[in-house]
C-alpha cells in the first residue's frame, strides 16, 4: 500500500494480503497508546476530516484519537441531516470540503454507497466509517485484530455471528474478512433478520443459537435495534432475549477458551447478558482499544508520504 490503496471503502475489494498489512501495521501502532507520550509525528501537516452524518460516539472518537496520535490535524463535522430536501446535497458538501484540501475524509452515512460517491468526487483518501447496511471495514479490521491477538491466528477458527444480520454492516464486513482469512463463519438469527443471498458469503446459517455456538472459538453478538419491532421483524425484545440472547449457559456450549465480542453499543439483557458482556471471556473493551491502533494504521497507510515510516 502506501499509495497503492487510495481509499478504504469496504472489505469486499480488499485482498487478503492488504488485510494482513492493515493488521500488521496496527500491531506497530498498538503500543503507542500505552506510552507515556501517546503521540508520533507520522502525519504532521496532514488534515483528516471526520464527516459524520449519523450519530456516533465510539467510532468518531476512535478516529479522532487515531488521527491526533499520528499528529494529523483532525476536524470533526457532524451533519444532523443527510436529507437532500432539508440541507445541502452531499455533492455540494464534498465540493466544499475538497476546496479545503483534506488528505483523508472519514465518512459515516446512513446511505449505503455514500463513501463511494464521495470517493468519486474528491482527491482525498476516503475511509468508510460505516455506510447504511453496507460495510464497516475498520470495525471488521479491529475485530480481526482482536481475534488474532487473542487466538494467535484467524484461519480455521469457528466464528459465530448472531443478531440482526440483515441490517448489519458489521456482519457483512466481518463475514467477508473472516472467510477471506480462512475462518469458518456461522450466522444465526430469526429468518426475518437474515438477508437474501446469504450463501454467497460462504457462511453457515443456523436457526438456533445453541447449535450455532457449539464448539465456537469466537462468539460475536450484534445489536438489536428497537425499530425492528415496529417493522414487524421481531415480536419483542423479551422473546428475542430468550431465544437468541447470549447468556452463560449458552456460552458454555462454545469452546472453553472461546471469546465473546460485540461491536457496541450493547443492549444488555437483549442480545447479550450483562454477566457475559462483563465476564472473563469478553474482549469487548479490547475491541475498542484495538480500534484506535487499527484506525491509526488505516490513516497511515492512506495518508503517509511514500517511504514515511510508521512511528517517525
Amino acid at each position: 500500500m502506501n499509495g497503492s490503496v487510495r481509499h478504504l471503502l469496504g472489505i469486499e475489494d480488499l485482498p487478503a494480503r492488504d488485510i494482513v498489512q492493515f493488521l500488521d501495521t496496527a500491531e506497530v501502532f498498538f503500543g503507542v497508546s500505552t506510552r507515556r507520550v501517546r503521540k508520533v509525528p507520522t502525519l504532521r501537516g496532514k488534515t483528516v476530516i471526520n464527516l459524520f452524518f449519523e450519530a456516533s460516539t465510539r467510532t468518531r472518537t476512535s478516529f479522532e484519537i487515531a488521527g491526533k496520535r499520528l499528529s494529523a490535524d483532525v476536524v470533526n463535522i457532524s451533519v444532523s441531516t443527510s436529507s437532500v430536501s432539508k440541507g445541502e446535497t452531499l455533492l455540494d458538501t464534498v465540493k466544499n470540503l475538497e476546496a479545503m484540501h483534506p488528505d483523508v475524509i472519514v465518512v459515516r452515512h446512513s446511505a449505503s454507497g455514500a463513501p463511494h460517491f464521495i470517493a468519486r468526487h474528491t482527491h482525498a483518501g476516503v475511509v468508510n466509517a460505516g455506510d447504511g447496511m453496507h460495510e464497516h471495514p475498520t470495525q471488521a479490521l479491529l475485530d480481526a485484530f482482536t481475534i488474532r491477538r487473542a487466538k494467535g491466528h484467524i484461519a480455521d477458527l469457528v466464528v459465530t455471528i448472531s443478531g440482526d444480520i440483515a441490517h448489519s454492516r458489521v456482519a457483512r464486513s466481518n463475514a467477508l474478512l473472516l472467510t477471506r482469512l480462512g475462518a469458518k463463519v456461522r450466522v444465526c438469527a430469526p429468518r426475518t433478520l437474515l438477508p437474501a443471498g446469504l450463501e454467497q458469503y460462504g457462511v453457515e446459517v443456523f436457526d438456533a443459537l445453541g447449535p450455532a455456538v457449539e464448539g465456537a472459538d469466537v462468539v460475536m453478538m450484534l445489536r438489536i435495534q428497537h425499530e425492528r419491532l415496529t417493522e414487524a421483524l421481531i415480536p419483542s425484545t423479551r422473546e428475542y432475549a430468550r431465544t437468541f440472547g447470549l447468556n452463560r449457559a449458552m456460552l458454555a456450549r462454545a469452546k472453553p477458551d472461546a471469546i465473546v465480542m460485540h461491536p457496541g453499543p450493547m443492549n444488555r439483557g437483549v442480545e447479550i447478558d450483562a454477566d457475559v458482556a462483563d465476564g472473563p471471556r469478553s474482549v469487548i473493551l479490547d475491541q475498542v482499544e484495538a480500534g484506535v491502533a487499527v484506525r491509526m494504521a488505516v490513516l497511515y497507510l492512506l495518508a503517509a508520504e511514500a517511504g514515511q515510516s510508521p512511528l517517525a
Partner: protein, 438 residues
Amino acid sequence: MPGVTRTVLRGGRVIDPSTGRDEVADVIIEGEIIVTVGPMAAAGVKDDERDTVIIDCVGRWVTPGFVDLHTHLREPGLEYKEDIASGTRAAAAGGFTTVCAMPNTKPVNDNRAITEMMVAKGRSHGLVNVHPIGAITRGLAGKELAEMADLRAAGCVAVSDDGRCVSDAGVMRRALEYARTFGLVVVQHAEDHGLTAGAQMHEGRVSTRLGLKGWPRVAEDHIVARDIMLAQTTGASYHVAHASTAGSAALVREAKSRGMAVTAEVTPHHLTLTDEAVLGYNTACKVNPPLREQSDVDAMIDALAEGTIDCVATDHAPHAEREKDCEFAEAPPGMLGLETCLPLLLGLVQKRRITANRVIESLTTSPAKVFGLRVPSMREGSRADVVVIDPECVWTVTAKRMQSKSKNSPFEGWSVTGRVERTFVAGREVYRHAGEGV
C-alpha cells in the same frame, strides 16, 4: 424540404406486421398517405421529377412507426427533465411515431384540463402523435377515482397511476368496473408497497452485497395475480405495465390461456440488464421495477417472443443530471428509453432470442391493439407513419448526442447494432440521422 409532396422509399425490406408483408419493395408516400407499396413499384419514378424525393433504402428496413405505451414526457410541471417538444424529438429519433404520456406530471393528469393541454401541446409542439394516459385515481393517491369519462372525452387512451400501485383491492375493483364503462384499459404499476418499503433495487445477492433494501419479485407477482382475479370478476381490460418477473409473465400466460383481456408490456432494460448493473452504486441503473436476475431476463425475452408479453414499452423516464449525481438512496428511479430501444431489441435478434418480425410487431401492431389505437401499417391508404432502419449500423450510445433533455441512460458507451435512420409522421420527415433533425 418545402414543396415536397411525394417521398419514394426505394428498395428497402418492407416489414409490416399489420399485413404480414416482409419483402423488398418500394413505398410511395404522397402527402400524409402511403399510396403505393410493392416490389419495383417506384421503378418508373425518376429523381428529377418535381416535388419528389427518392430515398435509396437498399439494405434498409422500412416499417410502420413505433408506438410507445409508456413514456414520461414530464410536461406539465417537470420541464427541466423533459418536455413535449424534447420528448417527442427523442421519440422520433428512436423510431416512435406515437407515444402515450404517463400522468405523473405536476399537476397530475387526473382531469380534463391537463389532458386537453397535453393534447394541444402535442399538436403544436410535438413531432410525433401524443396520446395522454389519465390517472386512475385523483392525484395518484389510490383513493378516489379520477373523472375517467372526462379524461376519455378529452383524449386519454388509457388510465394508470404509474409510479404508484393501486393498492386497495376495493378501489382497484371499482376502477376496473368504471374504466370498462368507457372502454379504457387499466394499466397497473404492480408493486405491493408494503413489500417494498425503502426498497432501492431487486432483492437478492446483489442487494445484500451493496447493503441496499430489496424489492422482492413477490411484490409484483401477487398484485398481478390479484388484479387478474379482479379483471375476471369485472370483465375489464387489464394491462401490466413494465412486467419484470418470471412470475408475472407466468400469470399473464395463464390468464391469456383462458381468453382474458389481460395484456402486458416489458421494457428494453428488463430485457437486457440485470441487477449486477447496479454494482458500484450506479444510479443510472436505479429503476422501478428494479433490474432483476438473468433468469428473469431470460423469462421476459421468452415471454415476449411467444406473445405472452404483448409489446415492448420504453418507460422512458428522464431525470436531470443533478438528481442522479448523488447517493443511491436519494436518486429517483427511472432511465431513458426511447432512443436506445430498437438497437437493444435488435441485439436480441442477433443472439437469435427473438425474430426481427416479432420485434417490429411488438413495437407497432401489438401495442396499438393493447390501447385500441390506430394500428400503424404499410398498407396502401394508411397514414404514412414510417421508419427507415439501418439494421447493420454499429454505433456507440452517447447520451450527450441524444435528443432527450436528460442524459440518464444506463447504456452509455454500449456498442449496439442497428439504428433508426429516418422517421416520418403523416408523411413528414421528423427525424433523419446524422444530427440534422429536419
